[in-house]
């Protein structure tokens, strides 16, 4: 009989990076790399578990921006082209490395990997990863939750609650359309919770959300079970808090598993290592070296990149199995201890960025595979669960208003509100206010006016992505984030002026509908 539960939550998110106006756009590579390195490997793990009759539960947020890219035909086609070039490159690599067995083996690994990816993506999933993930939700193994429409950091939108509400309602509508049922849960962007926002979740039919540890711990009144049981907001929506101990095992750069010396080194990529003329056809069209995803070295130790040793897949996989065993052992101990101390079965909620698995930590999907199998076969103390299942089983929980919080550095809004990015909010707030004004001024618009109003919503939403503020914070000169913010505010402003002047520039509107085609069914009246 189990003594407690583990809810693994993967937050899969990328901002909307789709640039039909360029044949080769570097930021789109974020998406292609994540498909090859994270999303397809996760699906492969799920398929394997299913084939082997291993029961599992996992929760995954697929943000509306990511889901939009998954179903976009242009990006689907471009991904296949991207893969074809990688396959061509690995074919050359097979030849080039013929006299070096250790690298030849790795070239074969990548060749196989990319061919498998193509087979899965094109033939098995018909290029649509939404339906690929949905299958596992329909089978009851995976709980897919939604997120803010464009991952806007909601506490900093608080000054205009309608903008907050729109981020949630548009996300919920997209979820229902793509996944064929209502969203039961949401990953609030950056786990940014502001008391009261749960009312909008309730309105959207959402039952639960996730907060960082202190969101629960600093809630009012004091939470009896800490983060080891959910709490209900006054609205009746449940909040689950992040467990710190299990988080650290994976997240910490110093102590976490991903830093192990056997694991693949991220920064030695043949896109940078090999002779320029040779690699030229596989890097950016302008000749800039980029990561290809083909990496032949392991972390090795605290040594310079030049002294890294060749990667050994087998040794790395064995280490991943060890780490999965270690993680499970620690969870068993944790659950037993908590069970005795709390006098009830704890739930341990462990959220991670999905892209950490595979993209950053190459062996992450393998680790997850080992972990899910070990949980199924090797013990009975810890049972996997999704938040929805937990609430069905344990509907009685304490009523606590969680504290305003985020999972960013220092736990509040500083990552998205500091000297590098605070200037954004003047423009974002103004655009949101204007959107509300437009919706209230033109409540029954039809035809071109309606098109212009709906496109205004798309531009506003895209400007609101927390990713831009985050990039300003982490980089010294992040031109892409600046460009994106400026483009969308500009487009919004021009649409606004056109609507107000009763002079909508129709060719311009058509261009924007083609460029920023997210949320085709959006209804601007969500802002009224």
């Amino acid at each position: 009989m189990e003594k407690g539960y583990l809810a693994l939550v993967l937050h899969a998110h990328l901002p909307f990076v789709r640039h039909p106006e360029h044949e080769d756009f570097l930021e789109e590579d974020w998406f292609y790399e994540a498909i090859t390195e994270t999303y397809l490997p996760l699906l492969k793990v799920f398929e394997g578990l299913l084939n082997d009759g291993v029961d599992f539960r996992l929760t995954m947020s697929i943000t509306p921006t990511l889901a939009s890219m998954f179903v976009d035909p242009l990006l689907q086609d471009r991904y296949v082209q991207h893969l074809d070039k990688l396959i061509e490159l690995t074919e050359k690599e097979l030849e080039r490395t013929r006299w070096q067995a250790e690298f030849h083996e790795l070239a074969r690994m990548y060749h196989r990997l990319f061919q498998e990816a193509r087979e899965l993506f094109v033939n098995r999933y018909g290029r649509n990863l939404v339906t690929a993930f949905k299958k596992f939700q329909d089978l009851g193994k995976l709980e897919i939750i939604t997120c803010g429409a464009t991952h806007g950091f909601l506490p900093l939108m608080e000054v205009n609650p309608k903008a907050v509400r729109a981020q949630i309602m548009i996300a919920a509508a997209q979820y229902e359309k793509l996944f064929g049922r209502k969203a039961r849960g949401i990953w609030l962007p950056e786990c940014g919770y502001q008391p009261g926002h749960d009312e909008f979740l309730k309105e959207a039919g959402i039952r639960f959300f996730l907060v960082d540890t202190h969101g629960i711990l600093h809630g009012t009144p004091r939470p009896k079970y800490g983060v080891f049981a959910p709490v209900y907001c006054k609205s009746g929506v449940a909040a689950f808090g992040r467990d710190m101990e299990s988080s650290k095992a994976v997240w910490s750069a110093a102590e976490g598993y991903p830093g192990d010396y056997q694991y693949r080194e991220f920064y030695r990529d043949i896109g940078f290592d090999l002779d320029y003329d040779y690699i030229r056809p596989y890097i950016h069209v302008d000749g800039t070296r980029i990561n290809t995803g083909i990496k032949y070295f392991r972390i090795t130790g605290n040594v310079e990149l030049a002294f890294k040793q060749p990667y050994h897949e087998r040794a790395a996989l064995e280490r991943a199995a060890d780490h999965a065993g270690n993680f499970l052992f620690n969870r068993e101990k944790q659950v037993e201890h908590l069970y005795d101390w709390l006098g009830k079965k704890p739930i341990i909620v462990s959220p991670y960025d999905a892209e950490l698995y595979g993209h950053w930590w190459y062996e992450g999907p393998a680790w997850l595979n080992f972990l899910l199998r070990k949980i199924h076969f090797d013990q009975t103390t810890v049972q996997l669960i999704t938040p929805s299942e937990y609430l069905d089983r344990y509907p009685r929980n304490q009523i606590v208003t969680p504290s305003q919080s985020s999972w960013g550095y220092k736990g509040y809004a500083e990552v998205w509100l500091n000297g590098s990015n605070d200037w954004l909010y003047r423009y974002l707030h103004k655009a949101a206010d204007r959107m509300v004004e437009l919706a209230q001024s033109y409540p029954h618009a039809t035809g071109d006016l309606r098109r212009a109003l709906n496109q205004s919503v798309r531009e506003l939403l895209l400007a609101q992505s927390s990713d831009w503020a985050f990039i300003f914070k982490t980089g010294t000169c992040p031109p892409y984030a600046y460009k994106r913010t400026k483009d969308h505010i500009e487009r919004f402003s021009k649409l606004y002026d056109g609507i107000r002047a009763n002079a909508i520039d129709l060719p311009y509107l058509g261009q924007l509908e083609w460029l920023d085609n997210i949320f085709p069914e959006v209804d601007y009246m969500v802002y009224a």
Partner: protein, 315 residues
């Protein structure tokens, strides 16, 4: 006028003042946007093409350059919560409101007034003032207590000590930075400190950010678009390090024969280009390589063999 408590932040608390909204000018050509006449069909098979050729397109150029406006001629102040101890305010006082105030107190008084943020804690309407100089339009405000509701007036402090508000902000509530004092008697635990510790309460604000920042920084360094502005140099990925040298050897084996012939190199059959030429590239490790190259005519009647030998020795 509510009772007022002077609590000007100390120099240590005072955040760096911002004088203007940060702007970056990006020099680039006018973007040429290509507009399709009709969207590409969803299942269009384009794998065979090396680059996306795209549907039939027409050129469209965005003609009017645009920059973030300096303001919106609004009269308002907006307050945001950064964390339990810091707020951020941005504001704009427009000419109309300034004119009203000038009529109320006299232009000369207004000219001699100082721009002031008056921060209220709304439960008791205690307040403190922050003097704004140099035309700042935003400010970080240190507030004394978490879990309190605040609002801020932007206004003018006259030489005779009168405060004229130009605009009042929204109300915000700062979060708690510790366990609540409120306890529900239905939900008691014998040891709150232990619960807090077991839940990881002493490690708040750490954890995920470290790796997320590394991940994101990598994306920026290696994937910034060339056309947006200057690129980060690939060398930056390596970080700062002392003088260094890296060298490696590769060997190119090339040749030609009849296009219909079968060619093997070291026993592996290779593909010929349509004109019968071939080119192979090998990473060359230390040691000796014997590289037999053999061509066989398509009818099998004739064969030619060349056997280069290469030795690499690195000292």
């Amino acid at each position: 006028m509510p009772p007022r408590k002077k609590a000007v932040p100390t120099a240590k608390d005072k955040p760096a003042r911002k004088t203007t909204t940060r702007r970056r000018v990006i020099r680039k050509k006018k973007p040429v946007i290509e507009l399709p006449l009709k969207p590409a069909p969803a299942d269009q098979q384009v794998e065979e093409s090396k680059y996306y050729a795209g549907p039939v397109i027409q050129k469209f150029t965005e003609n009017k350059p645009w920059e973030f406006p300096g303001g919106y001629d609004d009269n308002k102040i907006v307050l945001l919560v950064r964390d339990p101890y810091w707020l951020y305010a941005y504001w704009e006082v427009n000419g109309r409101r300034r004119g009203e105030i000038a009529r109320e107190i006299g232009q000369e008084q207004l000219d001699r007034s100082r721009e002031v943020l008056r921060v209220y804690e709304t439960a008791g309407w205690h307040s403190f003032d922050v003097i704004i100089d140099g035309g700042a339009r935003s400010w970080y405000l240190k507030v004394p207590e978490p879990n309190r509701t605040y609002c801020v007036d932007i206004g003018f402090l006259t030489p005779d000590g009168r405060f004229i508000a130009a605009a009042r902000s929204n109300y915000v509530t700062t979060p708690l930075d510790r366990m609540s004092d409120v306890i529900d008697e239905q939900w008691l635990t014998p040891d709150w400190e232990r619960m807090y510790a077991l839940s990881g309460g002493f490690g708040i604000g750490r954890g995920s950010e470290e790796i997320r920042e590394l991940m994101r920084r990598r994306l920026e360094q290696e994937s910034s678009s060339g056309w947006v502005s200057s690129l980060s140099s690939p060398a930056r990925v390596m970080g700062e390090r002392p003088f260094w040298l890296m060298a490696n050897c590769e060997l190119i084996v090339y040749g030609a024969t009849e296009p219909s012939a079968t060619v093997t190199v070291q026993g592996h059959k290779i593909d010929l280009r349509p004109d019968g030429t071939f080119s192979l590239r090998f990473s060359l490790p230390d040691g000796k390589q014997v590289i037999p190259i053999e061509a066989i005519r398509d009818d099998g009647a004739e064969r030619r063999k060349i056997i280069p030998q290469v030795e690499r020795k690195t000292d």
